[in-house]
């Protein structure tokens, strides 16, 4: 039971990064369907940065873990943030259709990631030592039994994800910046009239959201998969689903991510044949649909998507 919960928290990290990033973006009224592609780009960016750092050492096993982690995160955030910048340039400045732009970014990001991982596989480059650095955890994890394992046995990225989600939750609900951002997502014209710099907020929210999602891609690469072949994009789509599941609240996204991670793990734990596993894998999506329906029927203000989600703001439009 403890190990099951531990795996849920650990694997939920992937979804948590993606959904926290997407929530911040969606709060500004932009539905970024490029998240799967952006997570892929983040994975590539972080790994490229770390491989570059690794190559400067004659003996990769002596790399300082802290530096590897920081460089990886920065690399992931930079590349994913650039994709977020591209998205916001298209949708905020050029006012292009959000769905179309997001899908194009997803196509591009998945393409880049597959291309890069094929190259890496062909060259035989291994990020084993990078992985070792990311796997480092509290030294006391092994000594205080199951309880310690449940709380202290994760890599840095898991704690970082939780911290980001809680900070995001606090900022969105308790600060002026959060209030302004929510106002923009609900009614940009009204927010504009009060003198909020809409463009700046939208850019920052989108780029920051993308950068956070990018770390999730890196997590997939350095902690989850043992080869370069892992469908980061599937995790990205599930992250979009968790945003709905957690009714646009980062604090609930923590629970949502864990729930989805459990659903992801059930098929490998239950003794069923290969075909029926597919039916179990369907559950997260069905649950998301049900949540979507319930919140629309209840029609409570607190659980609705941001009012202007998916609609670009143009000041001169009536």
């Amino acid at each position: 039971m403890f190990s099951f919960l531990r795996e849920a928290i650990w694997f939920g990290t992937v979804y948590l990064y993606g959904s926290t990033g997407e929530i911040i973006t969606e709060k500004s009224g932009h539905l970024n369907l490029g998240i799967p592609g952006i997570m892929c780009m983040g994975a590539v960016g972080g790994c490229v940065a770390d491989i570059w750092y690794m190559n400067s050492f004659a003996d990769p096993s002596k790399m300082p873990a802290g530096a590897v982690i920081i460089i990886g995160i920065l690399g992931a955030m930079l590349v994913a943030g650039l994709m977020g910048l591209l998205y916001s340039f298209f949708t905020v400045s050029l006012r292009c259709n959000q769905n179309v732009t997001g899908l194009a970014i997803t196509t591009f990001g998945i393409g880049v990631m597959n291309y890069w991982s094929e190259r890496m596989g062909a060259k035989g480059i291994s990020i084993y030592w990078v992985r070792q650095c990311f796997a480092q955890t509290f030294p006391c994890a092994g000594t205080i039994g199951d309880f310690g394992k449940l709380f202290f046995s994760y890599g840095t990225l898991t704690y970082l994800a939780l911290a980001i989600a809680l900070i995001a939750s606090f900022v969105l609900r308790r600060t002026r910046i959060g209030l302004n951002l929510r106002a923009i997502g609900e009614n940009p014209a009204a927010a504009d009239a009060t003198g909020i710099n809409i463009t700046a907020y939208k850019y920052v929210a989108t780029v920051l959201g993308a950068a956070i999602a990018g770390i999730g891609g890196l997590f997939c690469m350095v902690e989850v998969t043992t080869s370069f072949q892992y469908s980061v994009d599937a995790a990205g789509w599930l992250a979009v689903a968790i945003v709905i599941f957690s009714v646009w609240r980062p604090s609930l996204a923590v629970l949502g991510s864990m729930a989805f991670a459990i659903l992801y793990y059930i098929p490998s734990r239950v003794q069923v044949d290969f075909g029926e596993k597919e039916l179990i894998k369907m559950i997260p999506y069905v649950v998301t649909i049900i949540v979507l329906i319930i919140i629309s029927i209840l029609n409570k203000k607190e659980t609705q998507p941001p009012q202007s989600l998916g609609v670009n703001y143009f000041r001169e439009e009536r």
Binding site: F108, Y115, E118
Partner: protein, 384 residues
């Protein structure tokens, strides 16, 4: 005249909506964007594989027009993409963001395969094909109408709803394929019954003809029928629609059924007319690409034939180029992604006008001078 207050900060540029763009100008801009995109793709190709700039274009054309078989493949892929694009168009025109075409096509395909699997050998081929056709359309419609019902009744967010339905459909297909495949490989082999007849020796010709007919029909439907008018009004403004007495719920549901039916046809053509089997990747991202195709053509079926040709041309050509350069299959995804970026950005210059401050100031100055000269002339005349 009073002196103008000097602003502390004037925006660098001013963006305004453009209404006066002529059609040929718009297409010229798109053509320009396409040309720039091609050049950039060539540059990307020469970065990934040094010295391949010229070869990239050669392979692009060779991959598409190299052999008669490739040309047929091109036409077939255009027809399939166009069919899905046609399907999403009525809903998009109504501003119903249906991104679930992928799932709707898959469900149509699954239903078609189901009929082929269970009826195979028990009925005449013609009967099976007919049953497949109807079942596919019905299943596509069911998959599309579920989100529409909730949208009409409770205003449930259709983008997210249809997105989730895609994955439910994919997993359903995987489940069924696993159930049906007898050898335990998890892959369904070719089904030998219920193949669509082929005209002469051209396997894909019937598919292409069906889609061509469908294109014309949809064009007529959107342009000349009352239904087409109603869904356009709903898309432009729901308040206007309500005011002139259009039943919005009915229009939403009816239009999504139409969307689903066409998706079902696409699924039918993919299974019965092309691959004769089904797997979760059968739609191959067409449901998403079709959205781009339809949007780029401004929801005009005739223009969609052109945009889908461009997309398929680039995809097929760059896949061939990627294979020839030994860059792998994902090379074409990168190229297609870059191409989309440029084309999407070009829409901005069609819909909006950008005025830069520096330029408009110069113009203002020139205007002021002209006015001054004119006043001087007038006063001189008065003096005389």
């Amino acid at each position: 005249m009073t002196k103008h207050e000097t602003h502390k900060k004037e925006p660098l540029m001013h963006i305004s909506k453009r209404m006066d763009m002529k059609k040929w100008q718009a297409w010229l801009i798109r053509l320009g964007a396409f040309a720039i995109a091609l050049i950039v793709c060539g540059i990307v190709s020469s970065i990934l594989k040094p010295g391949s700039f010229g070869k990239f274009y050669a392979y692009l054309f060779k991959g598409v027009f190299g052999t008669p078989r490739r040309i047929w493949l091109l036409l077939q892929n255009i027809a399939m993409l166009l069919c899905v694009a046609l399907a999403v168009t009525p809903a998009f025109k109504m501003k119903f963001w249906n991104i679930g075409a992928e799932g709707q096509v898959l469900m149509g395909a699954l239903m078609c395969a189901l009929c082929m699997f269970y009826m195979g050998g028990k009925a005449a081929n013609g009967v099976i094909v007919l049953v497949c056709f109807i079942a596919s359309m019905a299943m596509g419609a069911i998959w599309a109408v579920i989100p529409a019902l909730f949208k009409a009744q409770w205003n449930t967010n259709e983008t997210l709803f249809t997105l989730m339905m895609n994955y439910v459909a994919m997993n359903l297909v995987r489940f069924c394929v696993n159930k049906w495949s007898t050898n335990g490989s998890g892959v369904l082999g070719i089904l030998h019954y219920g193949w669509m007849p082929s005209i002469g020796k051209y396997t894909y010709l019937l598919n292409i003809i069906i889609v061509a007919v469908l294109t014309v029909l949809l064009w007529v439907y959107l342009r000349f029928s009352k239904h087409g008018y109603e869904l356009t009004v709903v898309g432009e403004s729901t308040n206007t629609a309500r005011y002139i007495g259009i039943n919005i719920k009915k229009v939403i549901i009816r239009t999504m059924i139409l969307s689903g039916v066409i998706c079902g046809i696409a699924g039918f053509l993919l299974v019965s007319g092309t691959s004769h089997t089904v797997n979760a990747n059968l739609a191959d991202g067409r449901g998403f690409t079709a959205i781009l195709v339809s949007w780029l053509a401004h929801f005009n079926p005739a223009a969609m034939a052109l945009t889908s040709s461009l997309v398929v041309f680039l995809d097929q050509g760059s896949t061939f180029a990627g294979d020839s350069f030994r860059l792998g299959g994902s090379f074409s995804d990168i190229i297609t992604g870059i191409f989309f970026f440029f084309i999407i950005a070009s829409e901005f210059f069609i819909n909006y006008k950008v005025k830069f401050r520096a330029i408009s100031k110069k113009k203002e100055k020139a205007l002021a001078e002209a006015v001054a000269v004119a006043t001087v002339e007038v006063t001189e005349e008065e003096v005389r």
